[in-house]
């Protein structure tokens, strides 16, 4: 298993959605599990999120979105990451949570989101997912 304290996670809230309790709970849980978590705060543009991922050299990006704008914002974030040569599941693990309907979730997974966590997902599930998912990243395979 990859040493958690060497894994940097960015938790971001894009768009105009101000409901940050979920994001903060997940951020804290990941910290308690031993990860290094960078929380961007609310009202982030996709560009700000991508720049943060780059400057913090993050291996994981958790996107929290409850505003319904996920099919606009998340694909944009993924596109911007790919433009900077950061490939989902190879260079970065992207997961998302909030209010995302199952059909959209399927679409997002095809685009590169590794997992979509709906409301009520246990923190244990999220932590175990991150543990497993980072093992497939290039940087930890070497």
């Amino acid at each position: 298993m990859v040493e958690r304290s060497k894994v940097r996670v960015v938790i971001a809230k894009p768009g105009l959605d101000g409901h940050d309790r979920g994001a903060k709970v997940v951020a804290r849980a990941l910290k308690e599990a031993g990860y290094e978590v960078i929380y961007t705060g609310i009202r982030q543009t996709p560009e700000q999120i991508v720049e943060t991922v780059i400057q913090e050299d993050a291996a994981v990006l958790g996107i929290s979105i409850l505003s319904g704008a996920h099919m606009v914002l998340i694909p944009k974030i993924i596109r911007l990451l790919e433009e900077r040569n950061i490939k989902p599941n190879e260079d970065i693990v992207i997961f998302t949570g909030g209010i995302i309907p199952p059909d959209d979730a399927e679409e997002l997974k095809k685009m590169g989101v590794a997992e979509v966590f709906g409301p009520g997902t246990s923190l244990k599930t999220i932590i175990e997912f991150v543990d497993r998912a980072v093992e497939n990243l290039k940087r930890f395979k070497a």
């Binding site: 958690r4 304290s5 060497k6 940097r8 951020a27 804290r28 990941l30 910290k31 308690e32 599990a33 031993g34 990860y35 290094e36 978590v37 960078i38 929380y39 961007t40 705060g41 982030q44 543009t45 560009e47 700000q48 720049e51 943060t52 780059i54 400057q55 913090e56 050299d57 900077r84 040569n85 950061i86 290039k138 940087r139 070497a142």
Partner: protein
């Protein structure tokens, strides 16, 4: 994975992804850190380092957010290393300083990196120094290092900065804490933030009194630390704080003190690296079978700790000398 060569080349030309990768390397990998620093060192030396410290909740990050704007307006390329504590229980960290400076994330002339203390004082000092070098080599000419606290760790991190700003908040009694931690001896500028709160006059007086004790020293050095009242949220006092930083820089450069401080920093860095290397070797040694037997003897009162350490040191001397 990119080769170290191409990574360094990209970082030196300003590629942020490469810069970030290098910082991760120097944080995580002892051997690679050595190699990276060796190669980028000739490109360092231009950056001016400002340390910002103070207790949690004093508004350092918000102040820094405003200072970055002023620095950018004057054409600086600004690097920021924001340090937050690692939980001693879980080994994880929640790095939230960046939150207050996020508007600068997309500014090509700003690089913000969050760093966790990771539980080893020597390790943190080394990682911070090395990260500063990477940013310096990559072209960031003004680098802020923000640490939290009023304790020894924070003093050690910032005392090697060129200018040290101590931020306190009225009413928390931090001024007393700061005095106790020796920060009043180290700080070049004091900022009383959230100056719209009650107790600002008291805070000012307490700091002023503490500085009275150091009066002779400051007079000899030619710099009396100013106490600036700021309310970062409304921008009040922020320009005067920035002006104070610039004035201090001018003083450091003109008086020759900057050279002294840099010599001090170089000495501290070498010392830290040596201490950290030896500490690792000692850890390694104590894990091996022979040393474990020695420890058992100490527990059984057959050997005292000093004699035991003497034996280990003899072995180490052989190894290091060989």
């Amino acid at each position: 994975m990119e080769s170290l060569d191409s990574l360094i080349k990209s970082a030196l030309s300003g590629d942020k992804k490469a810069i970030a990768r290098l910082i991760t390397l120097v944080e995580n990998d002892e051997e690679k850190a050595r190699e990276v620093v060796r190669r980028i060192y000739p490109y360092t030396g231009r950056a001016y380092v400002v340390g910002i410290t103070g207790p949690p909740g004093s508004g350092k990050s918000t102040l820094l957010d405003k200072l970055i704007k002023l620095a950018r307006d004057e054409g600086h390329h600004v690097g920021v290393i924001a340090i937050d504590p690692t939980s001693p229980f879980t080994g994880g960290a929640l790095l939230g300083d960046r939150l207050r400076m996020q508007r600068h994330s997309t500014d090509p002339g700003v690089f913000i990196r969050s760093m966790a203390t990771r539980g080893s004082l020597g390790g943190l000092a080394k990682a911070t120094n090395d990260a500063v070098k990477v940013l310096d080599a990559a072209g960031y000419d003004l680098i802020f290092v923000e640490t939290v606290g009023v304790g020894q760790i924070e003093v050690d991190i910032v005392k090697t900065a060129d200018t040290v700003v101590l931020v306190t908040v009225p009413g928390l009694g931090d001024e007393v804490q700061a005095i106790k931690a020796g920060l009043t001896e180290v700080a070049d500028i004091f900022a009383i933030n959230k100056a719209d709160r009650e107790g600002v006059e008291m805070a000012y007086l307490e700091l002023k009194m503490a500085l009275e004790f150091e009066k002779e020293k400051w007079e000899k050095l030619g710099w009396e630390p100013p106490i600036v009242e700021t309310t970062a949220f409304t921008l009040k006092g922020v320009k005067p704080l920035w002006e104070a930083v610039k004035r201090h820089r001018e003083h450091m450069e003109k008086s020759g003190r900057l050279k002294e401080r840099r010599a001090f920093r170089a000495r501290e860095e070498v010392k830290t690296i040596i201490a950290s290397t030896i500490a690792s070797k000692v850890e390694e040694k104590l894990e091996k079978g022979e040393a474990k037997e020695l420890i058992e003897k100490v527990v059984e009162r057959k050997l005292d700790p000093y004699s035991a350490s003497q034996i280990v040191m003899e072995k180490l001397k052989e190894e290091l000398g060989g």
